[in-house]
Structure formats: structure tokens, C-alpha cells
Symmetry: C5
Subunit: 352 residues, 5 copies
């Protein structure tokens, strides 16, 4: 059950009170600022609010990446500097949001879930908030991570369109990375599915059933994240705030297509996982059939002849057969005949 | 089945006849009046209809909370004073309504279900009617309870936006509390689910199955309450009566998001509960397999050798083996060989 | 299967030929005429077509109730007098219609199914046709029955709004009665469900399964009646023929809400009934497990020791144990040990 | 699987090449022409294309019925004479079309499936193409059959509206016959369902399961035919080609209602058939329970006492009980007690 | 699991970098150019980019078929020559696209999946990209194949409308071939289904279950390809780019109908395959019943009489029956009676 998110905001808390409700506070919060134009590029690690203010004044495009949303004060400082509605700030620090797109006067606020495999190969989900303004993108996440590294790299090298296009293209690039990482996670799921299938067909065990259930729960979670993400993307395509330029539409349509593909895969995997339960049950049934067949065959052959042996073990004084010279061999013959008859019967039933 | 609501209004009763159709009449009915502005605040416990009339005259915002809807006369008095349509009054005193939003000339009428855990940890559901007028909110419920206590507290202390915003914000605050309490109840459900899962995988019993079914019924009820509540909220967002101010929209959108999250969780839990039935069946099947395997193995090993023992217990006069000096040991050898053969067979089948 | 309606109109019959296709012709057909205004009220039992014509001339509101639609001639006479399209007359006398709303130039034609419990507590369904004109309502049904009695009573006493409002309110009152009677029938279903559940958990029998299936069929029928009835009601709310006055809208909305509640309940019961099949299967599986466990335990304990007894029943001449003074007791000891070993094994497996 | 249609048009065939792809070429193709007005009526059996041309010239309404669509040349001749698009002609001779409505400049083209019971009571499906022009209806089918006989009869006798209304009413009459014949076929299905139910509850056999599956396949086919037929009818109701007169609308609405009823029935039967699989499984489970109970009871009673008998069949020299005078009777007593104990145990478990 | 597509584009790759992500590079890439008008026709095998440029200049209609999309450079050369957006070029070389229709300024870009049976009868799926411009169609695929051969043939012979109509008709012809090949593949599936059914009813084996699952996965894939293909076709019908002429609409509507038929078949097969799992389980259950019945009957007949034999094998000194002259025969009689009693019992239960 640990894969199911819980929402633990105390009911009745006045809106407007910033409280972090996530769990893992791994590293100190930190702001990175990237300002860029087609020709210029500047990167400030560990920027202060003042540095941020300075960048805002310059007319360059800029991307601010805040990692460590547990640092509520920092988030509030950034939000105040950039003029966010306090509900936006609340949503940023509550990592149990549903992916969504909200339109405010001067910016678009997006929440998405970022999936990636951690060092030990487990799928980890993290909330990313992206605020898209006229010439800036501000992203918030908990762990610094390196999911966005390719974007940083492209900014630094100036390759591709990264520095040539506006901040809407930057938001697209981040969303593209988020969606593409789902493919990586789903490939892992696909591999697991194949393993489960082999297990279920070969040696159905309780453990496999438990693992299948765990996987099913994970897929449910991914699904709850992807469907609204798809809505978010289609919302961006329909957006009329003027923040999304025409030229970026083709790119957004491309991410949207990828998101639909992810959902397709998710639904396919869900279907296949559900099918596994049936497969497990029929595999068990099949095995039970085998087990019972063995018992029935052995039972049906030996029970009647044991009875015959029992008969000639009776102690009646007057039992003529016992006196026959070849009585014993006749008894064996009778028992062999009975057993063969049974075997012929099972042969005909195709049980043997 | 006790979780399923019943509607027992006698068919054929003329509309307009007020009859309370709920069950628990716990405490005497009571009116609390809270009048407030950004600077002023007044609270009247146990207010009379006259006090209510006085508050209405003052130009302040006010919130009237009526607890004890079994007191039909009181509800009628309040309703008449405030000018409610008699169908509204009927709906208030029939606690089997479906959550809904109805628009009347001077006010909006909303019905919702309030869920909370009572002292002994059981989920209790109660109908709340909220009437939102230009500068007032009137809420009706059966039990006084303290679900709305945080709002009272914020009114008293004047913290937050409570006293600064209009009555639409007050209605929002009540709805927010109602939705947030579902999370508390659902967290309880989540814990139960984990318990069920362990039970079903470990020691599937009839009791667990019964409890799962009870839980399923509860979730069905919650679902029947939440879907229309979500409609109610989206109705408020689309409302064009002028009673919902622009500024309050962001807040309502926030509750709406929470309602969607509750529904997401509900659907997830429903999925997981349904899966448990399959798990239970496969758990039983698995156990049956084990049971049968034990019987089959023991039967298959001992039935043939019991037959052999039976053979040498026969009383034929002419049975040469019986005279052999080491006949007895040879018989033991034969029986051991047979048993070992069977065990080898089961080993190969991976049943041992 | 008797709960499934059949449609037996001979294919190829020219439209326009009136033939009654129902089954139960219980009582002679009969027309009751109620004419009323706020101050006046007149009731004619067993009215003739002439009386009907007279009432039509008076400018009063009137309600004509025709019971006994098997009397095709009578229906045709009434229909001709009131100027019905011949397709309407056909639909009235074919009691296998789907609930629907049809708009004609001077009136609205509605078909609904009326459910009630008969004297012996069985749910009975009957087709009711309601024609709503400017100042009249004409209802057709087969059995006189007393479902509409409360309306008659309210007309007679003049209580409530019955005589103050127009014929649209009269149509509403009839529909309200029809919808409300579903609650009565569903309450019965609820009680049955509880009984089934107890049966299935306690002593799953074939009979219960058959009854569950019968109940399922009934719910399917109710559903096929309620969904179109809901459409009918929402059609009335959207109607633009001018026959439905503004003031009646709130009342119709109320019936509509009740219809939605009935559908909610129906879907809930359907869900619960479907769940019962799973419960039945798992109950059987559980019982089978118990049965097999008993056999396995007894078999596994006694089969090995019976073998031991068999061994010492062999007649070999040279069997040293047989000569031992305490051989017999040693054999008992060995057998007891074996049995205890088996019991310990089962104890560890938690089967005992 | 024979109930599933196959489409065997060779891929890559140029559109415009007429090739018949059906199977049964039973009788020579034939054209019947019926020309009529309110006062006149003429019928030509085995008409030639010239006769057809003559009728076209007369200003009467006419209905041309072509049976034997395997005669591609004939269909092409008729089509060319009437000015059909070559895609229409192709569709007419490919009897694997999905029911559909297509609008061309001068006529509407409809494809439907006609179901009827053949002489031996089997449901037979056949494709009917209907072309509706300003004053003509042309229908194409394979077998002459007598499904449309009632229409011919009404034309001949001049009863009803047949000759008074236009060709749109004629098209309606044909569609009405097609839809009504589904009721006949479904009644047969209903009877089968009852039979299956009795079989499954009474003596679940493999054959029943196979028959249920066959029936399921048939229902799938009917469904694939009815849903698009309903669309066709609703398309006719929305049609704005001017070929459907206002007066005919009420009649088309009537057929549409019947089509919806057929679909309702189909869905109901599908539901019930699906339920039968569960019923079958639970019936088998129930029977297995019974079987195992018998084995368990007999096994549990006799295995222990057989063991006791075995004990006293041992040949130890020193077995004091054997010497007791009433030892034999004591042994019987012990065995009886054991058996009774077991029976008491089963009684308590309600297995006896 | 091999039937599930994987998407292995490395996340973070800058859009605009062309990398082939398919697997099978079978043959060298190759361009064929077909230029045609009603009177002229020219075919260039192994055309160069220059040849392509020349054709572009001529005012003829032309079709360029590029096989071997692994040759990224070639695709880029063609794309640049024709002025494609670089996202189009990317999609062409990534063979994991979802079928879709995209509208660009001068052309429509379509992606579809082509299914065909390869030499060994296995269904093979391949991505086809079709770009439709004013007077040209350019198609991209991996393997040269001969699915499009009929179109080439019709171009060469000049039969049919191929050369008379514009490039939109050419695009239609290609799509028609693609859709029609699905029927061929589905016919194969139908045949398999019949085989499975026989296997499952006759001798349910684990292998069949595995094959059914494989088939189910294939159908899921086909479905994921067909639904978007249907959308593509309906998109073409609604297209307002001016590239689809009015005259071609009837033809596109025809392919659309075929696509709907394919989907109908797919859903039917899915239904039938799902049903097979139930059939398999019930077939196993039925067989288990048979197996257990045999064991129960044999056990119930022989266990009691073996007990009787055991009783008379006891060694009590005082056992009067043993001395009776006809004791032995009496014992046989008793045992026969017991066995017959049991058989009568089973006969009555209809187990024999």
C-alpha cells in the first residue's frame, strides 16, 4: 500500500498558511539561475534572492530551478519576488497535487509528476511545479536530481533551438523530459511483466501474486499522474494567454503525442496485468487437476486390489480358494487384471 | 446492508408538508449566529428567530448555523424568515438528499454530505444544507459536532481572510472543511485495505471476506456522495447568479481540485478492493493446492505399499515367499523401493 | 425468464390497426373524470364518452383516468374524442413500450412504467400512458389500482396545491407517485439483498444462486424502465411546447432528483448483486477447502498407520518382531508416534 | 465461429470492379416492379430493364424489388438505369456491409441486415440494400423470401396508408418489417436462454457451455447489425435531403423506438448470457463440493475403523485383547463408536 | 511480450536530431518515382534526389515511394528537397509512432501501420508515413514489400481511376490497401480462434492458454493501431486544407467504413478471446469434477467393503462368523450388497 499517496494536510488549516507536507528532506534547498539569449548565457549556482532580482531586471530569458521545496521560507521568498498567488505557493510545497494547469494573470502554473529510476533501479516519483512567464520559467522540485541535466547541457553548449527560442520552448523542453522518463520506467515494467508471465505459467507462487498486485498499484499511480498530465498538455495547446507562441505548438503537439503513447502503454500493461490474475488462477487450477489426477489414478488402481488382498486375508475356516494349489497365483492374476482394467479406463479417458 | 441509505418518505405525500425523515434525534435544536465584518465580530449562541431578524437588518455579513434539523418547526421558522421556497425547506429536513446545487432568485441552495470519524473511530455521514445569500450563509445539520469549529475559531480570532472576504468565501470555507474531512476518512480506509491485504494473503477467512464487502459498500456510499459534490463545486464555478465573487474563484477551484483528488482515491480504493476478491480466491485456490498435494503425496506413497502388505497378509496355503528366510526383509525392501520411486516421481514434478 | 418483457406484435401489421398485446384482462374498462378548479370539484365514476365531451366543453381543468386498456374500442373512442394521432392510440394499447416523451401539436404524450407491490408483496409493473394537454391530463392504465389514490384524495379535499395549479402540476403529481413507488419496491429489494448475503456467507445453496439470478433480472428490468423515465423527466424540463408552466419546473426538478436517486440505488444494488456471485464462489471454495482439509488430515494420519498395521498382519514365517514380548505395544507406540508426527505437521501448517 | 462474417474482397482490387462476394446463389435473379398511386396499382413479375424504364417514365410511385444480388450484371443494369454511383453498386453486391445510410444527390442509399427464421427455425441474416428516391424505392436482396410479403399484400389490397403516402413511407414500411423480424428472432433467443438456465442449474455439461458460446456469438453479430441500424434510423430522422416528408417522421420515430427496444433486449440477453458462465462455474463448484463431501464423509468414517480392524489383524503372539472372550464384540463396539463420533462431527458441521 | 512496441529514444535528445530507432535493416534504401497524368506515365527505379527534383519541376502528378527509412541521410535529403518540418522527418524515422494526421502549411502528414502476413504466415507490422501535397504523394516505409504493388500495377496499366484522379486519390488508394490488409490478418486470427476453441473444449492445456495470451497481446496491438487510423481517416474527411477534393470524399468514406468494420471485428475477437479464458477455467473445472467423481465413486465403493474384509481378517479367538459353514459366502454377499447400495446411491445422484 505504500505506493498510494496520502494527503495529510490538517483539515481546517486556513488557506494561506505554508506548510510542507512531503516526507524526504534530503538536501539543503538551493536556487540555480540560468539566463540566456541566442548569444549570451550565464549560470549562477546557489543564487540568492537578490541575484534572482537582478536577473529579473535584465531583459534576458531566464530559467530558475529551485530544488528543496521543503524549505518553505525559500519558496515563499521566490514566490513573493515573482508575484505568485499564495495558493500557488501552497501547491508548490504540498507534493500531493494532481497534475494540473492553472492560468494566472501574468503566468501559467503547471504541476506534473516526474518519474525516474533511482540508483537501485526503483521507480521514484516527484512533484515538479513549473511557472511559465513572459520570459522566464521557474521550476520547483524536491531533489536536485539530474533529470533536467540534458536541458542544462543544451543551454551551456548552445546547441539546438534551446537558446534561440523563448521561455515557452524551455517549458516544453522540461515537460518533454518528464514525459520521456515515463518510457524508461515503463520499459522496466514491461520487463517485469515478462518475468511475471513466466513465473505464473511455470511455478505459480503466492509471492508472484503479491508482486503482481504491487505492480498493479504502481500502474494505478502512474495512470493517476499521466491522465491529468495529458490534460495539462492539451490545455497548453488550447491556451490563449499569449504565453505559448505559435512556433512552439508543433513541439507541444509532439510531447502530447508522447503522453498519449505513454497512456496507451499504461492501459496495455494494465490489461496484461489483469490478465495475469486469470492466468494465475487457471495455472493453479491446471496444477490442481494434475495433482488430483495422480491421486485418482493411484487410488483407483490400488484401492480395489487392496480390497482383494483383504478378502483373501480373511480368516473364515471354509474358504475353498485358499486351498487351491495355484490360488495365490490366481489371486495375483485377478489383481493384475483389475489394475490393467483401470489403466485401460484411464488411457481411454486420456488421463494417462 | 446498513450502509445503504433508504428513502422512506411515504409516496403520495403532498409536496409542501414538512416531515423529518432522519433517525437520530440526539440533542435539542439550536441556532448560532455569527455576524462579522473586517473589524467587528459578534456571536450569539442559542439565538431566537428575533435575534436572527435583528442580524438580518444590520448590514453585516453573517453566518447562521442551525443544528438539529429534526426540529421541523424551527427549520420552517428560519426558512420563512429568510424567504426560502418550501421545496428547500423540505430538502433540508429530509436527510436522504443527493448532494446538489439549486439556484433560487435570491440565494443558492446546496446540499452536501459531511463525513467524519466519531469518537470510536467509525465514519459517520451527515447531511449539511448550505444556503448562500448576498451577505449571509445559513447552514443546517443534525448534530452540533465540531467539524466547522476551525471556521468559528478563525472568525473569532480574525486571522486569515475569513472576516475580510464576503459570504461566498464563508461558504467556500465550509465546503473546504467538508471535502477535507473525506481525506481523514479515506486514510482510515487505506489502513484497513493494507490490513485486508495481509489477511487475505496470509490466512484467508470468511470474516475478512465479509469485512471487505462491508468496506466496498461504504466506498459505494462515499462515491455516491462525492460525484455529485464535485458537480456541485463545478456548478459553483460556473455560477452566474453574481453571488460568487471573482476573487473567490481561485479558492473554489482549489476545493474542486481536492474533490477530484478524493474521487481519484475512491476509485483507486475501489479498484484495490475489487482486486482483493480475486486475491482471496487465488489464495484459497493456492491453499487448496497445498492441501491436496499433501493428501496426494501421502496417499500415493502409502496406498501401494499398504497393498503389498495386504498381499502378504493373505492366507493362501501355497505362498512360497512366506517360507523364504529373508522374505519379510525382502517385503520391506520392496515396499521401501516403491515408496522411494513415488517420492522420486514427486520430486521430479516439483511437488516435494 | 418470466421477468423479461416480450413484444409480440405480429410483424407486418399495418400501423393504424389497434390490437391489445398485453396479457391480464382483469376487470371491465372504466373511465373516471375529475374536473376541478380552485373552488370547484366534480367527480364522475364510470363516465361515458358523452360525459367526457361535456367536461371538455366546460373551461375547467380536468383529469380523465382510463383503466382497462384491453378495451381497445374505448381507448379509440377517447382518443378520437381528444384528437390523438393513431400512433399514440397504438402505443397506449401496446403495454410493451419503452418510457418516452413525444411531443404532438396540442399535447405531450408520455409513457411510463408504474411499479408497485401487490397484495402478496410481489413487485408488479404496469404501463401508464399520460397525455398532457392545455387544461387536461388523461391517464391510461390496465388495472384500476390505487397508486393514484393520494392524488384523488388531494383533489377531493382540496388540500395542497392540487386544485390551485394547472394540469401540468397534475401530470407532475402522477409522475411523482410513479417514481416514489419505485422506492417502495427497492426497499423490498434491499431487504432481499441482506437475506441473500446472509445465505451466501452461511449456507451457500443452489437455490440462493437461482434467487439471486431472478433478482438480477428484475433489476435489469427496473433499470430499463428508469433510465428512459429519467430522460422523459429531463425532456419535460427542457420542453418548449408551453404546456409546462415555469412554476411547475421546481417540482419537476424535484421528481427528476428522485428519479436520479432511484437510478443510483439501482446501480448500487446491481453492483452488490454482482458481488454476491463472487461471494458465493469464494464461499464454496472456502467450504471445499474445509472439506478437503478434513479428508487430508484424517487420511494423512490413518493411511500410514494402517500400513503399519498391515505390515504386522503379514504372514511371513520369519518375522522377529512378532515374537517379542512387548512387540504389540511397540507397534502401538510406533503408530502413535507416526500419528502425532502428522498432527504436529498439520499444527505447524495451521490446518488444525 | 461460422457466425462471424468474413470479408474476402481481395485487397488491391480497383474500386469500381463489381464482384459478388457472398456465398449462397440459390435462385435466378429476378426483378419485381410495383407501381402505385392512391387509385392505381400495377405489379410486374420478372420485369425486364425496359419495363423498369417504362415505369420510371410514368409519374407514379414505384417500388422495385431485386432478388438475387449474385447476378452482378443485373444489379449493374438496374444501377446504371437509375443512375447510381458505382460505389453504391459495389456495396449492393458485397453482402458484408455494415448497416449505413449514405446520402447521394438524388437518392438515399441504406444498407440493413434482415433477420428471419428459416423453415427449420434457424436465424438467417441477409443484406438488404434500399435506395430511396423522390418517387421510388428500390430494394436489393439475395433470396426472394417473404419478409416483405405483408407490404406487397397491403399494396395489392390498398388497405392502410401504403398507397396514399409517398415512397418515403414505403421505405419506412420495409425498415419496419426488418426491425420487427428481430423481435421474432430474439423471442427464440429468449426461449433458448431459459433452456440454458435450466440446464446449467440442473446438469451442467460441456455441451451447454458450447451452445452458450455459440449463442453469445450470435448475439454479438446481431448487435453489430442493430447498433448501426439504429444510427441509420436516427440519420433518416435528421435527414435534410427533402426525401423524407414531415408526415413520415412520426412513423420513423416509431421504428426507431422499436430498434431501441431491440437493442435493449439484446443488451439484456448479453448480460444474462454472461451471467450464465458464472452460474455454470458455480454450479460445477457446487457439485464438486457435493462430490468431495461424499468422499470425505465415507473416507473419514471408514479409514479410522479400517485401521482398527487392521490392528486386530496383526499377528503378534502377545496380544491380550485377542484372547478376551468378548474381544471381538468389544472391537465392533469401538469401531461403531468411532464411526458415530465421526458422524456426529459431520452433523455438527452440517455436512450430513 | 515481444509484440509490445518499445520506445527507446534516449530522453533528453534535442528535438531535431535524426536517429533511426527501428530494428530491422534488411535492404539498402531506395527511391522509386512514379509520375503520371491521364495520358502519361513514367517510372524511375532507384531514383536520385536530382531525379526527384526534376519530377517536382514537371507539372505532373507524382508518387515517390521511399523504402528503407533506416537510411536517415536519404530521408533527410528527400525531406529537405520537399520542404518538410524537421519534426516530420523525425517521426518518419522513428517507427514507434502512433497513427496520426498532422496538417502543415503545404502538405498533410499521415502515419499508419501496415499489417501483412510474411512468407511464413506471421503477421508483420510496419510503419508507413504518407505525405500528401498538392500534386504529389510521398510514402516512406522500411521494407520494399509488395503491399503497394496493386497500385503500381494500376498506374502502369492505366486501368481504373488511378491516373485520372489527383494525388488525394493516390493517398486514398494507399490507405485503402493498408486497411484491406488488416482483413487478411484478421482472417488468420479468426482461424486461430476456432482452433483455440476446439482445443479448450477438448483438451485444455497450458500451451493453449499461453497461445491465447499471445494472441490477445497481438489484438491489443492491432487495436492500438486501428483506432488512431480510424481517427486519421475521419480527420481526412473533415480536412479543410483543400488538399482533399470533393470527389475523393466518397472513396475516403468507403475506407473509413472498412476501418470501422476492422475495428468491429477486432472488438468481436477480443470479446471471444476473453471468453476463452472463462471457457478454459470451466473446462478445467469440468474435468476436475470428472476426475474427482471417479475417485469418489471408486473410493466410496471399495473403502467400506475393504473395511468389512479387514474385520474378518481380525484374529480374535472368539469370532463365531468365522466358524459358520457359509460364513465366507455370507461375507461376500454382505460386501456385494454394500457395493450395490453405494452404486444405487450414485445412480440416484446421476453420477454414474
Amino acid at each position: 500500500m505504500k505506493t498510494l499517496p496520502k494527503r495529510s494536510k490538517k483539515p481546517g488549516l486556513a488557506p494561506g498558511t505554508l506548510v510542507y507536507t512531503g516526507h524526504g528532506r534530503v538536501e539543503p534547498a538551493q536556487i540555480s539561475v540560468f539566463s540566456y539569449s541566442e548569444t549570451a548565457f550565464d549560470e549562477i549556482e546557489n543564487a540568492s534572492i537578490d541575484a534572482l532580482h537582478a536577473v529579473k531586471e535584465s531583459q534576458l530569458n531566464y530559467w530558475i530551478n529551485v530544488s528543496g521545496i521543503h524549505d518553505v521560507a525559500l519558496v515563499e521568498a521566490v514566490g513573493t519576488e515573482m508575484g505568485f498567488h499564495h495558493l500557488v505557493m501552497e501547491d508548490i510545497v504540498h507534493p500531493q497535487q494532481r497534475p494540473k494547469l492553472e492560468s494566472y494573470e501574468h503566468h501559467l502554473y503547471m504541476v506534473a509528476k516526474m518519474m525516474y529510476l533511482d540508483a537501485s533501479g526503483n521507480a521514484v516519483s516527484e512533484q515538479v511545479s513549473i511557472v511559465l512567464g513572459k520570459n522566464y520559467v521557474i521550476s520547483f522540485q524536491e531533489r536536485p536530481g539530474d533529470v533536467f541535466e540534458p536541458v542544462r547541457e543544451r543551454l551551456r553548449t548552445g546547441k539546438g533551438l534551446m537558446r534561440k527560442m523563448g521561455s515557452d520552448y524551455m517549458a516544453y523542453a522540461l515537460l518533454d523530459l518528464i514525459v520521456d522518463h515515463y518510457f524508461v520506467v515503463l520499459e522496466e515494467v514491461g520487463t517485469q511483466l515478462e518475468q511475471f508471465e513466466d513465473d505464473v505459467m511455470g511455478h505459480p507462487s503466492k509471492e508472484t501474486m503479491g508482486q503482481i498486485r504491487e505492480q498493479k498499484k504502481k500502474l494505478i499511480t502512474y495512470r493517476r499522474e499521466m491522465w491529468p498530465l495529458r490534460e495539462l498538455l492539451s490545455g497548453l495547446l488550447r491556451d490563449d494567454s499569449g504565453l505559448i507562441r505559435k512556433k512552439t505548438h508543433n513541439y507541444l503537439r509532439d510531447v502530447y503525442d508522447h503522453a498519449v503513447q505513454v497512456i496507451d502503454l499504461l492501459e496495455t500493461y494494465r490489461d496484461l496485468l489483469s490478465g495475469l490474475t486469470d492466468l494465475y488462477l487457471s495455472s493453479l487450477s491446471f496444477r490442481m487437476n494434475e495433482v488430483m489426477q495422480v491421486l485418482t489414478i493411484i487410488g483407483s488402481i490400488f484401492i480395489p486390489i487392496t480390497f482383494l488382498a483383504g478378502v483373501y486375508g480373511m480368516n473364515f475356516q471354509n474358504m475353498p480358494e485358499l486351498q487351491w494349489e495355484y490360488g495365490y497365483y490366481a489371486a495375483w492374476g485377478l489383481m493384475a487384471l483389475t489394475a490393467l482394467g483401470m489403466m485401460w479406463f484411464f488411457k481411454r479417458k486420456k488421463w494417462l
